[in-house]
Amino acid sequence: MSDRTTAEPASAAPSDADERDLGTTDHTHVTGRGFALLGQGIREQRFLFSLSVIGSVLYGAMTVADAWVLGWATDHVIRPSFARGEIAKGALAGAIALFLAVAILRGLGVIGRRLIGGVVFYRLIADYRRRVTRKYLSLPMAWHHRHPTGQLLSNANADVEATWSVFMPLPMAVGVIAMLVAAIVAMLAADVVLTIVGLIVFPALFAINVFYQRWLSPKVSYAQSLRGDVSSVAHESFDGALVVKSLGREADETERFTKVTHELRDANIAVGRIRSMFDPLLEALPNLGILLVIVLGVGRVASGAADPGDVVQVAYLFTVVAFPVRAIGWVLGELPRSVVGWERVSSVLDAEGSMAYGSRTLPGGGPVALDIDGLTFGYADGDRDVLRGIDVEVEPGKVIAVVGATGSGKSTLTSLLTRLVDPQHGAIRVDGHDIRELSHAELAKAIAVVPQATFLFDDSVRENVTLGGDFSDEDVWAALRTVQADGFVARLPAGLDAELGERGTTLSGGQRQRLSLARALVRRPRLLVMDDATSAVDPEVEQRILKALAAHTADDDGPTVLVVAYRKATIALADEVVFLDDGVIADRGSHDELVARSADYRNLVNAYDHAREVES
């Protein structure tokens, strides 16, 4: 069973857009592109794939051989033994050996078809997941900004799986084709006329299959999109559980869920009715073919045109091949899904661009001088530049606060400082070196950023702070102490080794934010950039953190700091304040100066802490 069926939400709910695409995809092109995709997968796993096909052929051959051995045993063991009144020991031993040999070979065939075929499928999806994630890591942030998170996750999970799902039935289908060719050759050798009957029945089977898939696939797509709806309603409703519960809306939510569930049920039943019709039809057709062969065969035997044995053989070959032929139908049925999946996966793999880094390292140590010079930046899809002509100089070791209303460009400035994006005009220099000339490693070493939104890895506390860097436990604890996180970390059962994330400890927003801060501090950066980095921390704890930070930055080798601030307590850290308004520097100076001369600034910094007082 593939992990599609076991995955939790991220891949369990294929996006409905995906399935709607499928409904409208042009079928004639799908087949061509689908076969190209098959070729690609086969080339990439050619050795194992060949083994799995050999396994499949072996399995088919042994199924036929089994019947042959039975006939042989009848003729060479049972009849002679009864005729002579004693067991034909040699032949019996031979029959037993043959039966066991066939069984073992068939076992090997199963292993080839199921196991190796499965390995091919799982390897392909693992390989492409790696390729897609590798691409995610090299594509620039600007690309990431353009694509919704959910879509990127589904590209790496559900879409990769959909692309290669066709490889599950493929080895069997290829084996069946081999069997089919062999069967047709054998039939031709037995009786040409009867074979023609066969050649009519197989294409008919095939045609019914194609017709079936086309009739069914829009209905399946529709059901699939409803499945997406059911999933979104459940997701949203459980997400908003507190609202639902406190407003007493459980019954109404259940009603909303019932509505989509019933739509899904009816769609599934509609699909089921078609399936109910086709499956028995596909099973009956080969049997009808056999009857036809016998009817014609009897006539031909009677007129002396055929041997009875030939008729029996053709009829028998029919029964052997009829069922597995459906594997070809399964492959054709999976193709459209694979093609849609591949289109989505290749949209990532074909994406171009990466952030080019320089090779320079920064000489010396300790805090750097920061020089932001004529910086202008606009997002590709924005009407207007988010930052325009920003000039800021900060002396080494100083703390500068950036204050501004929502949308004034503060967070963009922090992104520019760590080169998550590059400016259209102007430059950022540290100790006189343009940060674009720095190597990636040097940039990360010199400049550490604490983003507004905390991201923790599904890993231990220690790894979340060090990120694999070479830091001693003392370093880690020192950083945790500065951000007032040593207490709660020490109380975790496994301390620094406590696992965070889904299966580990759950931390509060404030605790998560503190780990994110420790991550930046432990590296002893030469420029520290904080973007509203204490917003989720209790005021009292925040106060302690800010005190410790102030002590830390006042050190001789403490970093130069640029902090995006909302609260006065954070602003209090700063030697100078830059007041951003709508992408330009509206004013700068000490906090006192700005409060004294700018009403906008005063309103802004007072609003959060003293909204009530301001109003009264």
Binding site: L100, R129, L137, G248, I294, V311, V312, A536, V541, Q543
Partner: protein, 603 residues
């Protein structure tokens, strides 16, 4: 049932089936007839080769000069059986699809409703994704099972029984021989099934891990770049993907081995029938014809056994899914709605009373200890305390999102656990700190507060809360789409909508979890003003994160490590010089910058 540390109360496969069917009576309805149809249609299918063989033997086999008329009877019989069994199969399948889809739709809805009745939902955000899969992919698995795998299993078992009966009719001795050959497989099947079920459990575990690490380069893209840890991240992703690959391959190995052993058992049976058949035949107890016939009959037995083996492996996943849904439904709703049997609260604005209330999560330490406090009607109370002090738990107990472990919470004089949810929620409302909105229009979101509110009533509330100007700034008014989780609006605007929604619900007692995230000053002002107006004339308890909220409250309750340590007005508590005074000092420190500045331009 598993060799893995046996989980307590874990239901066995059969018990899951029984319980699952009991939970979805629609599936059971007419199931008997469906099963009879299933067995008839497939038995019909397996009779066809026999009929054909008879045709060949009696007509063609004799060779010289067979006329079509000699075998016409057989051929018509065969045609009839093919058509009839095809129709029966169609009928059976339609019945099965309809019954199982109906039953499972109900199961989905029941599970959904039950999730909302469980308080754990409000406690643990990380479990939500898992709960969604209970009502989606898990039930899809069960449906696959019922419609394909399960029926195939039943049919295979039926065929095995029929084949055994036919074989026994020919020769009971050889039937025993065949059964003995399959005995080792039958015995080890249980073992294989358990190993498989464990292997799939491991696969599921690695899927979860893999999804988590794959999310890192996407969700954490900026952190990965800022810290230049691309290589490390890729290694983690590769490892996660690798573990998933290994687990899948291991499970495939088990599947292949299981199938292969069924095949080997079949070969063994064929060989044994020939050997014993000849031996028994020579002793005079069986005719040659019987032995030959029997040798072919073995195929009728081996086929379904192999099918059953294959199906068994697929069934493991479905059973595991069904088990998870059943376990969810069997989790008792810890906060029980007394429903119609409950009492109703008296009219008028009520106060609240905690009497000796202690709360602990199951198996955990006390989160709240021995709380005795009375809140007077129309009193405006602020709760302060550090993270983990128990203030949120207090709020949840007051709104009966959870029940106390010990003690009673009362509204007025009524124990709230005796009040029907319907009535309770008309009186007391919890407003969460981040206003959660549904992906719909503004109007739909407001109607969550009051289902049948007229448009004028909605607009009137905007007015009353002083939000008319904000409402006027929305280009599409009530028809504005708020986006997923309300993301088309800013955090502050979401709070505004949540406040309007609460005002529409018009409870007499409001429990408010104050927002901590910073929003732009203008919205902040609006929210503060709207909140003031919302709380007017009502009893309220606010989990305060701001100095101003505590300062303006009639009364401040201070929690520390699960205990109510201070209780009084702001001024009293500052004078007391305890926990609150310390908290206050840090607030003041934050605000001091503003207060000690000369105000040149008073606002």
């Amino acid at each position: 049932m598993s060799a893995q540390a046996p989980e307590e109360g874990r239901l066995t496969g059969i018990a899951i089936l029984r319980r699952g069917l009991a939970l979805s009576p629609a599936i059971k309805e007419g199931l008997g007839l469906t099963l009879v149809l299933a067995i008839l249609s497939t038995i019909g299918g397996s009779v066809i080769p026999i009929v054909i063989k008879q045709t060949v033997d009696s007509g063609l086999g004799k060779g010289n000069g067979t006329e079509l008329s000699d075998v016409a009877g057989y051929l018509f019989a065969a045609l009839g059986i093919i058509v009839v069994s095809g129709l029966l199969a169609y009928w059976m399948r339609v019945r099965l699809f309809v019954a199982s889809e109906r039953g499972l739709a109900q199961l989905r809805v029941d599970a959904f409703r039950h999730v909302h009745d469980l308080s754990m939902l409000t406690q643990n955000a990380e479990r939500r994704g898992v709960l969604v899969s209970r009502v989606t992919s898990d039930i899809d698995q069960v449906s696959q099972f019922l419609q394909f795998t399960g029926i195939m299993m039943v049919v295979s078992l039926g065929q095995i029984v029929v084949a055994t009966a036919i074989m026994a009719w020919f020769s009971w001795q050889l039937t025993i021989v065949v059964w003995v050959c399959f005995l080792p497989l039958a015995i080890s099947l249980k073992y294989f099934a358990e190993r498989l079920s464990r292997a799939y459990d491991i696969v599921r575990g690695t899927v979860g891990e893999m999804l988590a690490v794959i999310a890192e380069p996407v969700v954490g893209a900026s952190v990965v770049r800022a810290y230049a840890i691309e290589r490390r991240t890729q290694e983690r992703v590769d490892a996660g993907i690798g573990r998933n690959l290994d687990a899948n391959v291991r499970a495939q190995k088990l599947v292949a081995v299981t199938f292969a052993s069924a095949g080997v058992a079949g070969g063994l049976a064929n060989a044994a029938v020939i050997a014993f058949g000849v031996a028994i035949g020579l002793s005079g107890q069986l005719s040659m014809g019987t032995v030959i016939a029997f040798a072919f009959l073995v195929g009728l037995f081996v086929g379904p056994v192999q099918m059953a083996t294959q199906v068994l492996t697929d069934a493991q996943n479905a059973i595991a899914s069904w088990r998870r849904v059943i376990e969810l439904l069997d989790t008792p709703a810890d906060v029980v709605d007394p429903g119609a049997a409950g009492t109703t609260l008296p009219g008028g604005v009520l106060g609240a009373r905690f009497e000796g209330v202690t709360f602990a999560y199951p198996g955990g330490p006390d989160v709240l200890k021995d709380i005795d406090v009375e809140i007077a009607p129309r009193q405006r109370v602020a709760i302060v305390g550090e993270t983990g002090s128990g203030k949120t738990t207090f709020a949840k107990l007051l709104t009966r999102l959870m029940d106390p472990t010990v003690g009673v919470v009362r509204l007025g004089d009524t124990d709230i656990s005796q009040v029907s949810f319907d009535d309770l929620r008309r009186h007391v409302l919890m407003v969460p700190q981040e206003g959660f909105l549904f992906d719909a229009t503004l109007r739909d979101n407001l109607l969550y507060g009051k289902k049948d509110a007229a448009e004028t009533e909605l607009l009137e509330v905007f007015d009353r809360l002083g939000l008319a100007d904000w409402y006027a700034s929305l280009p599409r008014g009530l028809d504005s789409q708020v986006g997923q989780r309300g993301e088309s609006l800013s955090a502050g605007e979401r709070q505004l909508v949540a406040l309007v929604r609460s005002a529409l619900a018009d409870p007499e007692f409001i429990v408010l979890d104050e927002a901590t995230s910073a929003v732009d000053p203008q919205t902040e002002l609006r929210a503060t003003r709207a909140l003031d107006r919302l709380l007017e004339g009502r009893s309220s308890v606010t989990i305060a994160h701001r100095l101003s909220t505590a300062e303006n409250a009639d009364r401040v309750l201070v929690f520390d490590a699960g205990r109510l340590v201070e209780d009084g007005t702001h001024a009293e508590l500052v004078r007391l010089g305890g926990v609150y005074a310390r908290l206050h000092a840090s607030w003041v420190a934050q605000a001091s910058l503003a207060t000690h500045q000369p105000v040149v331009d008073p606002v």
